[in-house]
C-alpha cells in the first residue's frame, strides 16, 4: 500500500477540492461470452452542492459507473496496478483467471481524501447510505416487500446514527413529510405495495436523504414513472438539494432532465466519456458528433416532423468494441484517424471546462456545432 494515503477523516464536509473525483475508472465483467468492458476509462468530478447529469444510451455504462463507485457490483475482485501497467490487459487476465470474481473495477474514486475503491469494507459501509446515498430506477422493486417502509427507513437511521428507536422513528416520519407523503405518521407503518410508484420513489428519496449525505446518486429516478410524476420527483430532488446542499449525480437518458437540473453534463458513449461540459456549453456549443446526434433526436413540440430523427446504426457491443473511436462506425464525420486511434478527452480552447473526445480539428467541430444548433433554431423559426 502507498504510505501517501492520509488517515481517513469521517465526513469530508468543508474540505477543499471536488467532493468526488473519479479517475480512469474501469469496470469489466466476466460473462460466458467473454469480458464485457462496461466502463472503460472514465473520469469526472463532482463539486460540492452541484448536480452532474450523466447521459447516454441504454447499456453505455452509466449505471455500472455509479455501482462501481459504491462497489455494488456482484462478486467484485480487486487489483493493484502499478504505474505504467497495461491495466485493461491485466484486468482481463485477472478475471479470466479468477474463479471467485466475475467483476473488477480499477482506477480511483476519490471521496474527499479517500479512494472508495480501496477503503475497508467497514468504512465502505459507513460511506454507503450516510455520506453517499443512491436511489434507483425502479421504485416498484427497490423496496423490500415484507418490511414496512418505516422499518426500512429506521434501519437506515440506526445503521449510521447513534439514536434511540423513538428518535429514529421520529426522524423517519420527518423525512417522509419532507418528501411530501401525506399523513406520514400513519403511512410509516404501511408496506411498499400500499404505495403508488411515485410515492415509493419518494420513500426511496426519503431513505437516501435521511442521513443527510453529501452526495446523492440518482440512477434514472424518473424513468419508471409517468410524466407528471416525473416532474414532481425532479422538483423534489431539486428542492432538497437546494435546502440541504447535497451534491447530485443524476443518471438519465433524457436530455430534457439534464437541461432542467444539471450544472454539468457528462455524455457517455460505449463505456467512455464522449463529452463533458457545463450545461450551457453543452447545449450552446456541443462538440462531439454523438452529442449532436443526441440533441438531434430530442422530440420537439415546436417542430412538426413525420418521424423522429435517430442516430444511424446500433450501439456497439461492449464485448468487442470497434477499434479506434467507438463512435466511428455510426459517425458521419469519421475519417481515417478515427478508425485507428482511441481519442482522449481534450479541453476546448474557448473553455477549459468543456472537454470532448473527438479527433476532428476544433475549428471543424465548432463550425459543425454551429450548423447543428442553428438547424434547430431555423426549423423552429420556420415552423413559427
Amino acid at each position: 500500500m502507498t504510505s501517501a494515503s492520509p488517515t481517513p477523516v469521517a465526513g469530508t464536509r468543508g474540505g477543499q477540492g471536488p467532493l468526488l473525483d473519479v479517475r480512469d475508472l474501469r469496470t469489466y465483467f466476466k460473462t460466458d461470452d467473454g469480458i464485457v468492458k462496461a466502463v472503460d476509462g472514465i473520469s469526472f468530478s463532482v463539486e460540492r452542492g452541484k448536480t452532474i447529469g450523466v447521459v447516454g444510451e441504454s447499456g453505455c455504462g452509466k449505471s455500472v459507473t455509479m455501482m462501481s463507485i459504491l462497489r455494488l457490483n456482484p462478486k467484485s475482485g480487486s487489483l493493484d496496478a502499478a504505474p505504467g501497467d497495461d491495466v485493461p490487459a491485466k484486468m482481463e487476465s485477472y478475471l479470466l483467471g479468477s474463479k471467485k470474481h466475475t467483476s473488477l473495477s480499477t482506477g480511483q474514486a476519490l471521496f474527499g481524501s479517500e479512494d472508495i475503491l480501496k477503503v475497508s469494507n467497514s468504512r465502505l459501509r459507513e460511506i454507503r447510505g450516510s455520506e453517499i446515498s443512491m436511489i434507483f430506477q425502479d421504485p416498484m422493486t427497490s423496496l423490500n416487500p415484507v418490511h414496512s417502509v418505516g422499518t426500512q427507513l429506521i434501519e437506515a437511521v440506526v445503521l449510521h446514527q447513534d439514536v434511540s428507536p423513538k428518535t429514529a422513528r421520529a426522524l423517519a416520519i420527518e423525512s417522509l413529510k419532507e418528501v411530501g407523503i401525506p399523513r406520514a405518521e400513519r403511512r410509516i407503518d404501511d408496506y411498499p405495495h400500499q404505495f403508488s410508484g411515485g410515492m415509493r420513489q419518494r420513500v426511496m428519496i426519503a431513505m437516501a436523504l435521511i442521513n443527510e449525505p453529501e452526495l446523492l446518486i440518482a440512477d434514472e429516478p424518473t424513468t419508471a414513472l409517468d410524466v407528471t410524476t416525473q416532474a414532481q420527483i425532479l422538483n423534489l430532488i431539486n428542492r432538497l438539494r437546494e435546502e440541504k446542499g447535497t451534491a447530485v449525480v443524476m443518471i438519465t437518458h433524457d436530455l430534457g432532465v439534464v437541461a432542467e437540473v444539471a450544472d454539468e453534463v457528462v455524455v457517455m458513449y460505449a463505456a467512455r466519456v464522449a463529452e463533458r461540459a457545463p450545461v450551457y456549453g453543452l447545449f450552446d456549443r456541443p462538440m462531439h458528433p454523438y452529442t449532436w446526434g443526441l440533441l438531434g433526436s430530442l422530440p420537439r413540440l415546436d417542430v412538426g416532423v413525420e418521424r423522429l430523427t435517430q442516430i444511424g446504426g446500433q450501439p456497439p457491443s461492449l464485448l468487442n468494441p470497434p477499434r479506434g473511436c467507438r463512435f466511428n462506425p455510426r459517425c458521419t464525420y469519421a475519417f481515417d484517424r478515427c478508425r485507428g486511434e482511441l481519442p482522449e478527452l481534450v479541453p476546448a480552447s474557448f473553455d477549459k471546462a468543456h472537454l470532448d473526445a473527438c479527433l476532428l480539428p476544433e475549428q471543424a467541430k465548432v463550425e459543425a456545432s454551429e450548423r447543428v444548433v442553428a438547424s434547430f433554431a431555423t426549423t423552429a423559426e420556420a415552423e413559427a
Binding site: 455494488l72 425502479d138 422493486t141 423490500n144 449510521h160 405495495h193
Partner: protein, 323 residues
Amino acid sequence: MFQYFVRRFLWAIFLFVSVTMITYVLFFLVPADPARLIAGKSATAADVARVRHDYKLDRPVYEQYWRFFDQLVIHQSLGRSFANRRSVNEMVGQAAPVTAGLVAGGAILWMLIALPVGILSALRPRSLLDRGAMIFVLVGISAPVVWIGLLLQYFIGFRLAWTPNAGYCDVFNPPAGATCGGPWDWFYHMILPWLTFAILFAASYARMIRANVMDVLGEDYVRTARAKGVPEQQVIRRHVLRNALLPVVTMLGLDIGVALGGAIFTESIFNLPGLGRLAVNSVFNLDLPTIQGVVVFATLAIILFNLIVDVLYAYIDPRIRLA
C-alpha cells in the same frame, strides 16, 4: 376476509366428499370380492352370499356410500373393519400418532439439513460445498426411498449396530407384553425412519432454498439494502431470507399434510404401525371401512394443513394480509 373463509370452507367440503366418493367407486371397480375374503377359504357359496348380505355389500354403491357418509356425519364413526371387526376410529387413532411422530421428526430433520445446505450453497455457488450439496441433492431426489431405507438399515442398523433395524416403541403407556417403551426407546427406534424419510425431502428442499435465495439475492431491494450500508450478514438475514423462505413455508405445510396421510414406504421398511402400513394392509384385505378411514384422515390432514399454510402465509407476507 369472511367471504374468503366461507369459500374455503365450502371448497373443503366439496373436496372431502369427492375424495371419499372416488375411493368408494375405485374400490368397487377392483375385480375382487371382499365377501369371499371375509367368509374365509372354506366357505360355501351360500356362506359368501350371506356375508355379502350381512355386510350390505349387495346394495348399490350409492346406497353404501350414503350409509358411510351418514354414519360419519351423525355418529362421527368410520364403522368397523371388515377384516377384524375392530372400530376403524380406534385403528386410525392408534396408527395416526405413529405417522405423526415420524412426519414431525422427519420434517424437523429435513429442515435442519436443508436450511443450512441450501443457504450456504446459494451464497457460495460453484464452491466445493455447493457442488457436494448438489450431488447429495441429486442422489436424494433420484434414489428410491426403499433403497435408502434398506442401505441405512444394513449399514447403520446391522453392520454398525448403532440403532435398531426396525420396530416401534410407544412413547406413553406401552401395551402389556411390549418389549420396549418410553420416550428414549421411541426416539432410538425412530432415528433411522426419520433419516430415511428426511433425505428425500431434505434434498428437494435444499435445492428449492438454494434457488430461492439466489433469486432473492438478485433483487433490487437487496441492492438497496447494501447501498444504504447494511452489513452483509444483516442483508442475508433480514432482506434475503425473509423473502426467500416464503415459498418454503407453503411447500412445508403442503408436504406435511400429504405425509400425514401415511409414509407408506418408510413405515413398511421399518415396520412402523402407522397409517401407511394400515392403508397397505387394508388394501390387501379389501377392507373398505379401514381404507376409507385412512382416506378420511389423510384428506382432513391435507385440508387442515392447507388452511394453516394460508393463514400463516397471510401472517408473514403483508402483500397477502393487506391486499
